[in-house]
């Protein structure tokens, strides 16, 4: 109750102070690019965009993307586990969320979950979130929304920085950056490392009533894991207006699972390993206000099982035959899937007469999947070509009344699914301090190679055969939203209502055992408990209201977000041959976040930043294995800019997360509302060495705030 009161007071506080403020609209002048692919200030962007700014990131000191998105917005939910972050945006999972880094889609998934550890949280300039379908601009996946992570750009003569965070549960986060500019050439090398010992919120297993209760399980809530990534980017300002770049990265990740003694519960026979690599070249050509960009990139995401004990499972024998029981030994690393992607993307932005801004582009994408033991045919590929165009037009209808219309269309041709058109229309009416926005967009998502070709057995407590489906149809969605935003002085309020309807939704459904391939029936016989196959069986809709408030008063910033959500999915029931109405797993009706930050400069040598952050969620609903409890978690972050010594800049950060030590100790095997281990502390030391002047960069396509260092 006391915490609820605190929430209400914090939320209302900005409103009480209204009228006492001096104008501060810095936030609304933030330039965003994700919604339209062109640069707009936040105030002028026709599609509602949520921004997590550099300043917010700096104050918050988040250790991961999951923590940042989960705390600084109200629309995301996470449930970190072995199979990924289980990210949800307004009720839809990761496979419906397009995650981009600098406008390029993040590559690789395990079970539809992106590996967010590929992103260095200390190298983020800002995060833009555009909810709803954006397939017209970005193609497949962008059905629930788009997250665009914009990395820091460096134009220093020489910059060396190290930022090391130590925290509870053996948490180590390290960010290292080396930026060198020489003449027209600049290089940025980034190495980041993340590790945790993991934690166990309960040693109790959810067991059958008739079993001896298990209270000494070793199953962890979050398993120990380590990942690191090395990335390099070279840019060459070849001529005024023309910039070329080349970049590459290599990433490794391991998830380790302690072994217990209860075969059914805390015993596994392999750990998970991931390897990710990328290489890209491209260029940008600015011609006055117009722009052409070309990006060609290759990505690889490989997933391995590293056996921890002797086990027999699907494999390829030495004669090259696929067998269902092939033995493996501890330490052996066996490829599960290798996803590779090649894309080429040419895009132009042209200012046309009569206030038209045209964006047009073409994209080629080639996907290749190798999964020797888990897909039919062992290898598969797919390619898609796309042409798209978007026109933005704005006109003044009266004094301080502006109308902005934006229409986009994407034509794709997929090797398997042929031609498809995805439209998007959005409009904004600015009435002085009010802005009204409306969007209708269609989402389009072709079945992934895995959804089409999967063929593997997983041995959980039951033996389940998972099958892809070669006759899947693409998923389509219709997204409608209507929003109002009000900005006056330092206050911004926004409310957006949305309705997202998915047709031909792809989901795993249980099918009769007799439909399994004969090889599996012969091997497993009637011990094969279930056969699950991807099918276009379901429809789903999500609808809700998102509201945000932000108020800036001199050194103070107050912010709050609230998200109401309801979902309804229709699952095909193979037994009754009818559609059952169910909630989408993980849905919570109410989610919120709230924060207050204060930054004060005590002379030249010291600047203090302090922030209190709250995130809360009502009960999360699931179809089986119980609902996740509602939670409320508070965090205190402090930052201490210690000024510069010569060319060195020093900064300390320290904080406490989950101050009130909330832990969900629901038995292992049931759903948790949140996987937090309880109160944790962290400390970060950042040292930055800088030498030389900033380069004057002619190219500022998205007007990113380059002189972003406050030192």
């Amino acid at each position: 109750m006391r915490q609820t009161l605190l929430y209400v007071i914090t939320f209302c506080f900005p409103l009480l102070l209204l009228g006492q403020t001096e104008g501060n609209e810095t936030a609304m002048k933030e330039v965003v690019v994700t919604a339209t692919g062109t640069s707009h200030t936040l105030k002028d962007v026709p599609v509602q965009t949520e921004v997590i700014s550099r300043k917010m990131l700096d104050n918050f000191g988040g250790k991961s993307i999951e923590e940042i998105l989960g705390s600084l917005t109200a629309s995301f939910a996470f449930n970190e586990g072995d199979m990924g972050s289980q990210m949800q945006l307004n009720g839809l999972g990761n496979s419906y969320i397009l995650v981009m880094v600098d406008g390029k889609r993040l590559h690789g998934d395990v079970g539809g979950e992106n590996d967010l550890s590929l992103i260095d949280p200390r190298n983020i300039e800002k995060i833009e979130i555009v909810k709803g379908a954006s397939s017209a601009l970005y193609g497949s996946d962008a059905i629930a929304g788009v997250i665009n992570i914009i990395t820091k750009k460096h134009n220093e003569g020489l910059l060396v920085e190290n930022s090391t965070t130590l925290g509870s549960y053996g948490d180590v986060r390290q960010h290292n950056g080396l930026a060198v500019s020489y003449g027209k050439l600049s290089s940025y090398t980034n190495f980041h490392l993340q590790r945790t010992d993991g934690w166990q919120n309960t040693s109790k297993e959810h067991t059958s009533t008739f079993e001896t209760p298990i209270t000494d399980s070793r199953s962890m809530t979050v398993n120990p894991k380590t990942n690191w990534k090395l990335a390099e980017r070279l840019t060459w300002q070849i001529f005024p207006g023309i910039e070329l770049y080349g970049e590459g990265s290599y990433h490794q990740r391991g998830i380790f699972r302690p072994q217990g003694k209860y075969a059914k519960y805390d015993v596994t026979y392999y750990d998970m390993r991931y390897q990710n690599a990328s290489a890209a070249v491209g260029g940008k050509w600015t011609m006055g206000k117009n722009l052409l960009t070309l990006d060609i990139d290759w990505n690889k995401h490989a997933y391995f099982h590293e056996f921890t004990s002797i086990a027999t499972t699907e494999g390829i024998d030495k004669n090259g035959n696929f067998v269902l029981e092939y033995p493996y030994f501890p330490g052996q690393r066996v490829l599960q899937s290798d996803q590779q992607r090649f894309t080429a993307h040419l895009k132009g932005v042209f200012h046309l007469p009569y206030h038209h801004l045209l964006s047009a582009g073409m994209e080629y994408r080639y996907d290749w999947l190798k999964a020797p033991t888990s897909i039919e045919g062992r290898e598969a590929n797919d390619n898609t070509e796309a042409l798209y165009a978007q026109d933005e037009w704005q006109t003044r209808l009266g004094k301080s009344v502006q109308w902005h219309v934006n229409g986009g269309l994407r034509l794709i041709r997929n090797q398997q699914f042929g031609w498809h058109l995805s439209p998007k229309v959005s409009s904004m009416l600015s009435l002085g301090d009010f802005r009204l926005r409306a969007t209708w967009s269609q989402g389009f998502k072709t079945p992934t190679l895995k959804e089409q070709r999967y063929r593997y057995v997983r041995e959980m407590t039951q033996i389940i055969l998972f099958l892809g489906n070669r006759s899947l149809k693409p998923q389509k969605s219709n997204y409608f939203s209507l929003g109002a935003e009000y900005t006056i002085a330092g206050l911004t309020l926004s409310v957006t209502g949305y309705y997202n309807r998915l047709d031909d939704m792809i989901a795993l459904v249980t099918i009769p055992r007799s439909e399994a391939p004969s090889q599996y029936i012969q091997q497993y016989g009637e011990t094969l408990n279930k056969v699950r196959q991807y099918k276009n069986m379901e429809r789903a809709k999500t609808y809700g209201v998102d509201a945000t408030a932000r108020y800036v008063l001199r050194e103070w910033t107050f912010g709050a977000g609230y998200s109401y959500l309801d979902t309804q999915a229709e699952v095909y029931n193979e037994t009754t041959h009818s559609l059952d109405k169910v909630v989408i797993d993980g849905m919570a009706h109410h989610k919120g976040n709230v924060y207050v930050t204060w930054n004060h400069r005590f002379g030249r040598g010291y600047t203090l930043g302090a922030g209190v952050y709250g995130r809360m969620s009502s009960k999360r609903f699931y179809q089986i294995n119980g609902d996740g409890k509602g939670y409320q978690i508070w965090r205190l972050s402090t930052t201490h800019d210690l000024g510069t010594t010569g060319k060195f800049f020093w900064r300390l950060e320290a904080g406490i997360d989950n101050i009130f030590n909330y832990v969900d100790r629901t038995d292992h095997g049931l759903h948790l509302g949140t996987t937090t281990p309880g109160t944790t502390v962290y400390g970060t030391l950042t040292i930055r060495f800088r030498h030389g002047k900033n380069l004057k960069n002619n190219y500022k396509f998205n007007l990113k705030n380059n002189d972003n260092e406050e030192d």
Binding site: I214, F304, F342, E459, N529
Partner: protein, 372 residues
Amino acid sequence: MTMKKIKFFMLAAMTLLAGTSFTSCSGDNTDDNEEKYQDIVLQTVKSQKVNNQAILLVAFGSTWPEAFNDFDETVEAYKKEFPGYDVYISFSSAICRNRAAAGEHEEDLGAEKRNYYAPERWLNAFGKVEYADITVQSLQVIPGEEYGRVVNALKDFANNGYNDLRNDYLKNVKIHLGTPLMATGKDDPDDGETDVTKLADELHTIYGDKANEGAMLFMGHGNPDEFDTYSANVRYTQLETALQKKNVNYFVGTVDMMENFKTNVKERMQAAGYTSGKVFCAPLMSIAGDHANNDMAGDDDKWELNDDGEYEETSWKVYFSDPLGGSYDCSGETMIVKGLLSYPAIRQLWINHTHAAQEEDLDWFHSNDGTE
């Protein structure tokens, strides 16, 4: 440039990029694993071989803690009963083997290793160390499909399936096959003693009190129709007849046998006038695992009739306590989640089958080199 050329260029670039990246991405070389694995089983047998005669128990396997205890006790009972024999146990299910081998038991110094290799692997190793006498004992309840696998494993051994045993040895080795718990049965229990009547006697000794207090239901597994190669399902019906001779309150149903689901059990109960009162349920399976805990005593309550007329996703406990299932007095209190192997008297029936099997030598050897 045509699209084909563009594609070619892109693929070439991709190959180049892929080629310059790390090479370890395809995983480790595992070509020799098969031989290495069989050798581990062989070394295990070598290290455990004391006698010249071996007994191999074959269970489907389980991952449930209580089931492990039952298997352990069964192995101990066999060792006591057959002092001149080395006793091994195997799981035919890979999942159960993998989980059992992976637990902390392997790490703990001095603790037992739970290596339940597949029956084929054990038999091959037995052949390599040339046990003179090998008995394979099925721990199945009915001679159904799973038992068929046990038979095949022994036949493969006898016929030198891996092609690496000496034919001279195979010609001379004595092999025996112990049959499942209800290998024999007759429709009329008065036609003479069979496995079914013996089991009925023991079950009545154990569950007689319950049958006096209410309906006593047994849940067997059963073979789905298409797999009932050996017409094994009939044993459940025969057992019910035999038990009802002792007390009309006994009923035997299954998870998978057509026309003998819990819905059919209820019909029989009601036809017999049993329309109210207590309903006890116990698994008719060697151990209490998934089926006993979930299908019988679990909380699944999806009331959907499948095409075979069964509420597949409704547990026996929920079914019989609900008006749709008869509104009996059926709850967690009346669930008896214990496997048959946990009762020494029933375990003894399997042991008796082993003794019987050792009376008979099987002549299954056919040389695969054309000499015989």
